[in-house]
Every structure is written in C-alpha cells, then in structure tokens.
Subunit: 299 residues, 4 copies
C-alpha cells in the first residue's frame, strides 16, 4: 500500500463482545466493518482506543486482528492499532498484524513509567524493525501517559524508514502546524481529536481518525468532502451539526459511548470490558437525543 | 457604530515611549496608526496588551487614548483596551474612552485575587453601565489571571445590553466552537491568539485581534482575504509563511518583540516599560531573520 | 532590625475600608494591629495580599503604610507588602515604606506579561537598590502571574545585598526543601500557604505569614509553639483543628473571608474593594460554623 | 495480619531479571529481600511500581509473587502490588497473591480510558470481593492515569470491608491532611512520594512506601525513628541528607535508577525491561556521587 493512499475518514470500529462468554464477537465485528465500508469510509482501523486494544488478551487480540483484515478484504486499507506496555508485547502484535495482512500498524507508546526520548525511539525502532509494513506513530498523551512533541515525532519519521505517518490526538492544533513546518508539508498527519476535526483539516490533515462513523458516517464524510471542495461555510455547518455528539462521545469514553450508540442504532455489540462500565440510563437518554438531533434534516 | 461593522484584521499598535522622559510619545503613536490604516487594517485597537495598557498611569493612559482616537479620525473603528485591577479604575478609563470618541472598549478582567462569576459579572456590569458604547469582553487567562469560560462569556453578553462582542485569547479553538453553539452563531467573536488565526477563521471568527500588522500587515490581511474567499490552500500557505514570526512575537512578549521589530523596520518606538526589558541582541538577530523570511517572495 | 529577628507568626491584617467614603479606615486598622500584637503575634505585615495592597491608589497606600508602622510602634517588626505592575511604582512604594519606618518590605512581582529571569532580577535590583532596609522576595504564582523557582530565589538573595528573606506561597513543600539545600540552611524562608503550615515548619520554615491570626491568633501561635517544642503530635492536633477554617479562608479569597470573619468577631472592617464582593450569606453561615468549631475546647 | 501491624518503612524491591533469558531472577530477588529485612525494614512490598509489576506476563508475575512471600517467610508482612489494565486480570493476580500467602495486596487502578467513580468502585469491589486479605488502595495519578481524590479513597474504605489502607503518591501533602480529617484519624495511610517523606510523617502517615531502602536502608529507617521520637531537627537533617538521592531516584524512574544503584552497591539485578532502558553512563556517574555523599559520615 502506498502511504499516500491513506486519506479521508479512517473509521474505528469498536470490538464487540459476546454477551455469553465476554470474548470478542467476530461475526458482529465483521458486520460493523461492512457497514462502515458500505457507508463510504476511506479506511478501517480496528483495535484502536475505541477497539479496547489494550484490554484484550493476546489470543483475543490476534483473533480480532485476523477477523478484521478478512472482513475488510482489501476494499480499503486496514490500519491495526497496538497499545502494549512492553516492547516485546508490541512487537509480537505488530508481527501478527503484518502476518494476517494489515496494511499499516498504528502504535501508541502506552507507558507505566514515563519514557524519555531514548526509550521512545528504541521502542519504535524495535517494533518498526520487526515488520515490513508502514507504521503510524500515535500521540495521545491522555491515554498513553507519555507525550510525543512534534519535534520528536518528526525525528522518529526521519530516522526509521517504515515510520511514515503520524496520528495526533493531543488536542492542540498548533502541534499540527508545527508538523507541517518541520516536514515542509511532506509528512502525512492524521487528526485523532474528534472535536478538532475542522481545525485539523484546515491545518492540512490528510485524514480524520474517528469512531464517529460507527454512528454518523454521512456527517463525518460530508465534513471531509466540504473541506476538500473549499466550501468552508458548508464545512463549518456540518461540523457544528455533529459537534455536540462528538463532544459527548469523547467525554464518556469512546468504547462506552459508541457501544451504547450502536445499540440505539440497532446493532448489539455487547458491553465494554471491566473496569469500563456500560453507559448509564440517564446518559443513554442524552445520547439518543444527540443522535436524533444530528440526524434531523433541519438541524 | 454598528457592532457588525467590526470585522477583519483589528490591529494593535504598541504605545511608543519617549527615549528622553519615558512617557508616551503621542506623535509616534499617530504615525504608527497611520501606517496601519494605510496598509488596509480594518480597525485600530490602542492600549491593548501590546499597548502596555496596564503599565500606564491614569494621565498617560488618558493622553494615549485621546491621541489614538484623534489619529484614527473615524477612518476605521477604534477599540480602546482597558485592564485595571479595580472596578473603579476600569470605570474611570471606560468613561474617558467614550468621552474622547472611542467606538468600542475592550475590557480584560485583570485580577489579583481570583474572581468568581458573581464578581466578574458585577465588574462588567459596573463598567458597561457607566458608558453608552459597546463593550468587548476579553478573555485571556494567561495575562488576566482569571478565565472566562464560553458559558460565562455567553451569559455576560446575554445579560448586559452593551456587551456585544467577545475576544477569545485562551488559545483553545474549542472555546470558539462552543461560543458559536451557545449563541447559534449570533455572537461575533474575535480571535486574540496569533498562532490560532487559521483555525479561528475556520471556526467562524469575525476578526483577528493582532499586533502582527505593525510588522507584516500584508500577510495578516492576505490570510483574511483568502479565508473569506474560500481559498483554504492559499490561506494555509500564507498562514504557515507568517507562523514562525507569530510564534516568536508571542513567545517573547508582544510589547518587547513588536517594539524591537518596529525598530528593525525603521520606526523607533522606544523601549517597553520596566519590568519589561528590550529584546536582547541575540533574539533581535533571530527576529530580523524571521522578518526577512516572511517578506521573501519565494517563502 | 537584624534579619534573624523575624521568626514565628507574622500576622497579615486586612485593610479596613470606611463604609461612607470607601477609603482606608486607619483608626480601625490601628485597632486590628493592636489586637494582633496583644495576642502575641511576632510581626505585623500590612498591605499584603490580604491587605488588598494592589487595589489601593498611591495616596491610600501611603497613608495605610504610615498608619501601620505608627500603630505597631516598634513593639514587633513591621513588614510592608508591595505588589505593583511597574517597577517604578514598586520603587516609589518601597521608598515610602522605608521613609515611614518599615523594618522590611515584602515584594511580589505582580506581572501582566510573563517576566523572564533577566526581568525579574532587574525589577528586584531596582527596588532593593532604592532602599536601605531588607527586602523579602515573595513567590506566589497564583496571584502574581509569574513563578520564581527556588534556584531563582536563591540567586536573587545571593546577588542583591539587601534581599535577605524569601516568602514561599507556591503551595509546594518541595520548594522549601530545595531552598534549604541551595543555601545550606542559611536562608530564612517563610511559609505563605496556610494549609501547608505544619509541613513548612517541619521543613524548617522560620515563620508563617498568615492572615489567620485576625480570627484565631491563639491556634496559629500554639502550632508554632508545639513545633518549636518538638511536640509533633500536639502540633498535628492543633493544625488539624484549624485546617478546615484555613482552607475556607483561602478558598474564598483572604480579604473577602477575613473581613467577613472579623465582622462575625465583632470588628466591622467594611467590605473588600470591587471587583471583590463581600462574602455571601450562605458562606458567611459556613464561616460562622467553622469559627465556632475551631474555638470549641473539645474540638 | 492485623492492619495496624503495618507501620514504618515498607521496602519495595526491584524485580531482578536474568541477563541470559530476561525472565525474573528469583534467587536474586530472595537475596535482595533478605538484605532489606536484615537492615530492619518493617515490611516488604514486591511487584510494586519499582518491581515492574505492570511489565510482567502472568506466569512471571505469579512466580515472583510466590518467591517473594517465600523469601520473606513471615518475618515481616508482605504487601504484593497489582497494576493491571483489566479488572479480570487484577482479580486473577489478587487471588494468586492470597493463595501463595501474601498478607496484603496493594492495587493501583492502572487505566487506559479514564475511569469515573462508578468504575473505580466496581473495579475495587470486584478485586476485594475475590480475596479474604486486606487491600491497600494505591493512588498514583502520574503512573495510573486516573486520580483518586481523598473523598473517593475514604468512600472506598468505608464501603468495602477489606479495603483498609491507602497509599498516597499524588505528591500533595494536603491530600493526606484531608484523609486524616475525613476519617477522624482512623484510616492508616502510607506515603509513596519519596521527596515528601518528612511532610508525610509530620502529617501522621503510618508508613513510608519506598524503594530507597534497596540503596540506603539506614537513612530511611533513621528518618522514621527520629520522627517517632519527636526529634524534628534530627529528622530534618537526615531527610535532607538523603533528599538529593531520593529526587534523583524518582526523576530517572525507579526501576532504572534503583537497578543501577544496586549494581553500584555490588548486587547485579539485571536491566529493566524494554521500553525501559538501563541508566546511561553519565547519570550512573551522578548516581555514584549521590550514593557516596549520602553515605558520608560528615554529610
């Protein structure tokens, strides 16, 4: 896969869990992926933060990775997410992802102890060196516990051959401007902060990594279309139409809220895994209201 | 002045100080204002943060306010900045600004003790109630010491008749989106974070409050033009061309860096007032380089 | 005054305001100072944060400084507080304080624009160089807007002859340990965070700068006595007895809460100056309860 | 074990790794534990943050837990640390710890997604409900990614029978004062911030959870003795003597720095596990200097 092929709305499915044994429900996962592709999403990214990647045992993770790639079946690129506390665990999963046919692996430096630049660099070198497919570095200090500033991201891309993309989820649009400057516009970067989607596209993001297409694919795709067409007013309107929902989804934790939203949309994907709890009744009511508002033609 | 007339690039002149007695140099101030209007700026905002408003004694401030309005001479709107630690001091200056013909006063809730909502509201009510011209609420937690979240800004506009505009300088573009939502797009808001200019216009800002036109008026105006014309790629290019300079100006403190830049441009506006110090030699060299780069046709 | 004389509980009176003209009520100020000395406080510090120093016009400040020194009448040291946005304003006030007989000036680097080390140093040099009495550097980032880390505090003391003491109000006891280490225990430092009083004394603080003696002088003095006597359990008990009140006083802003408390104690000191508002009814009720609890023999 | 038996210096051994296969070196672990008990430490806490608990595979963790309890052999209490991203993983390890004879389990709510109070409570209920031994709740927002404020800690202790102790590592001594107040002094709390050891004992901490005894057991024990004897000056002196070392150990990450220190002390415990790297040469030199200084009789 050419790196430049990765553009647009990159959709993050949840990992459905069976209500009987609690394990990944691979059939339901395939169904969700089908929906996302049918709706027009430009790539599929299983096992991200939304996919509870860090909460899966190795065997479960392997199965979900394999099933995802099979479900996508080459119709669009597949980006498989990895978040493991040890380097050897991350290497193991990256190799497996490549083995089952992933196009890209996206790696979050999930950390217990803070990592310094030496440690972050070594971690990524070990993982990238173990595979032959491109690696997307994922910066999300709020979940990872370690922050990768633009200068470090740029150095990683510069030093390690198959690190070719960056996903920025720090929530600071300035970081994106900085990435453009450091790379003279050559580094493709992807926005992972839903509520920053408009600003990120304005800043030149190649794509939007988001779980929102699980619930409102048409609105996320219309934002991308409008921006690319230079229709800034239309982009702003469709962004504001989905913003209350985007804010709610993030605020409640993506696996929790997206799973609740899918149930409201008629697709039962089970509960998030403990320590996460399902959305409570009151907030489920709020979510139903937000989904209705976003869908309303006059909104 | 109709509120809606305030749009585009709102230029913040420094307050020049005499090298002999240290007082405001009103002739030089008028000269700078002339330059800004000649360059095409859409409004002039003397005595802002850049204008060292908070460092002036009452008499100096009165003189600078009066001289500024006279220099603008109605060619564009004049927005006079106020930042005073006490309500009675702020009221005094607001009345004077109206008296000498200002179109708008922009008020920062400069605080020693943190203010709660009751106190912020009372402060603004007292000031707004003492004048008949529109008041722009200015949120800049980094300099003011108090933060006005979007909900509070919206309530202030809602409750006090002649509070009709908001200047947002928290550096968080989400705040702007929130203002749009709270007011259904009816509240004109102005961006005061230079490095957020592109994102703010994308979010629907009515204008950009900036000292940068003192040094690079044409680039700031071109950004505004490109955004309004829906030329997002051109906007991004001209924004990135000025971004390193904008970052430098803010990082070093606006009065310090803009005064140094004006000297490099051939206009001696004196030194900032102690405790501020003039830009040191090394950083003046950096600034000269950034100015040259921003000006280069091929940049 | 020898610097080493400043030890123990350094009491911060509010500045009473007249209910008729709003100006400083100097007779009431003298009465409050008398009470504090009679109760056994080891020094008096008028015109601190609690004394609304930054909210006074020059004339008012001069009068309050002069009246305070006269009221103390040499019975204990007088430490006069200064917080001015400009260096020249701070110099003016420092000179006046020396002129009327202050023993020490305590200077907060109140800032609008962030100051770098060069600027902070120059500011203190100008002030210290203008007077012949000792200067206490006051670090309180929450109110000043600029943070003076221990290394900078140590350099200021090291470089400027009559800067001989530090007041630390960052709320971080580690800063105090760091000051001890940097100066090999030679630099007298004073704690300005009420809720940190026990930890600060354990860390070796020479004194406690506090407005609490306006309301509970005996408890603050007993804490000091117990710590000095090595009675750690007794110290902890008396500290916990006053802690809920200390927390409340700080949380609501010292001028606001201490003025309300003095009224409850029967001394009418007027209202804090706008933008500060008097404590509302509900919180005045809470304060009355906390005062009663702290006073209860069985508490 | 009666809860009240846990007092004093609770020593955290590293988990030694074999230089041949990278797995836990159980013989070396037993040797280290023997040293700590021989030096006089009051309890042993294997598999804490220092013990790289979160970086071990289940099998490795089980073996290290079993070997630790066996090495302690009932001479002092054993507190086994657990930090697992899922509730079911934490339950599994807690059961195993009880099974092999641990006296207490200490549980950190290591999180990927932020947990709300409902989720934290359920997590702890599930774990505590699965075992019959006491559970110590461990608050360390910097490593866990979730912060447990004093009110929540108090509610957990209140609601769940065998949650009987709290370890506080937020670095804020106010939290400890708050715990004392909420429980009327009845809740035993333990300090996990090395650089806060003096302030924590002054605040009434029952013990100090620390890896420092691996390197300087006598200094940590002397601090405890002096505080308990009410010798505050002696306590302060011995605390300041070890503080530069404590600061260094924490700053570089405990597994990294303590392992390097043990090698300098002649006990080879291998390297920390990737992504952690061994201490580099320059900092190893600094550490050697700090160890020498702490040991010097005249220090």
């Amino acid at each position: 896969m050419a790196t430049t092929a990765l553009e647009g709305v990159i959709a993050y499915p949840v990992t459905p869990f069976s209500r009987t044994d609690g394990g990944p429900d691979l059939a339901r996962l395939a169904e969700l992926i089908d929906r996302l592709i049918a709706a027009g999403c430009h790539a599929i990214a299983p096992l991200g933060s939304t996919g509870e990647s860090a909460y899966l045992e190795d065997r479960e993770w392997y199965d979900a990775a394999e099933a995802s790639v099979a479900a996508v079946a080459g119709r669009v690129p597949t980006v498989v997410g990895i978040a493991d506390l040890t380097t050897r665990g991350a290497v193991r999963r990256a190799r497996y992802a490549e083995h089952v046919g992933a196009d890209v692996v996206m790696v979050l430096p999930l950390s217990y102890w803070k990592l310094d630049e030496r440690e972050v660099t070594r971690h990524y070198q070990e993982i990238a060196g173990a595979i032959g497919i491109p690696l997307m570095v994922y910066n999300n200090p709020a979940t990872a516990g370690v922050d990768l500033p633009p200068e470090l991201l740029h150095r990683l891309v510069d030093r390690v051959e198959n690190i070719t993309m960056v996903k920025e989820s720090s929530g600071d649009v300035q970081r994106m401007h900085r990435l453009v400057q450091l790379s003279d516009g050559a580094l493709p970067f992807y926005n992972g902060s839903n509520t920053l989607a408009l600003a990120a596209f304005a800043a030149g993001a190649a794509g939007w990594c988001t779980a929102a297409p699980c619930l409102i694919p048409e609105l996320t795709l219309e934002l991308y279309r409008a921006v690319r067409a230079g229709e800034l007013d239309a982009a702003r309107r469709v962004f504001h139409r989905q913003l209350p929902l985007l804010r709610f989804l993030l605020g409640g934790g993506l696996p929790t809220t997206v799973k609740a939203g899918l149930a409201l949309r008629g697709l039962d994907v089970g509960e998030p895994r403990l320590p996460l709890l399902p959305l409570d009744e009151e907030r489920t009511g709020l979510l139903a209201g937000l989904l209705a508002e976003a869908a309303a033609p006059g909104a």
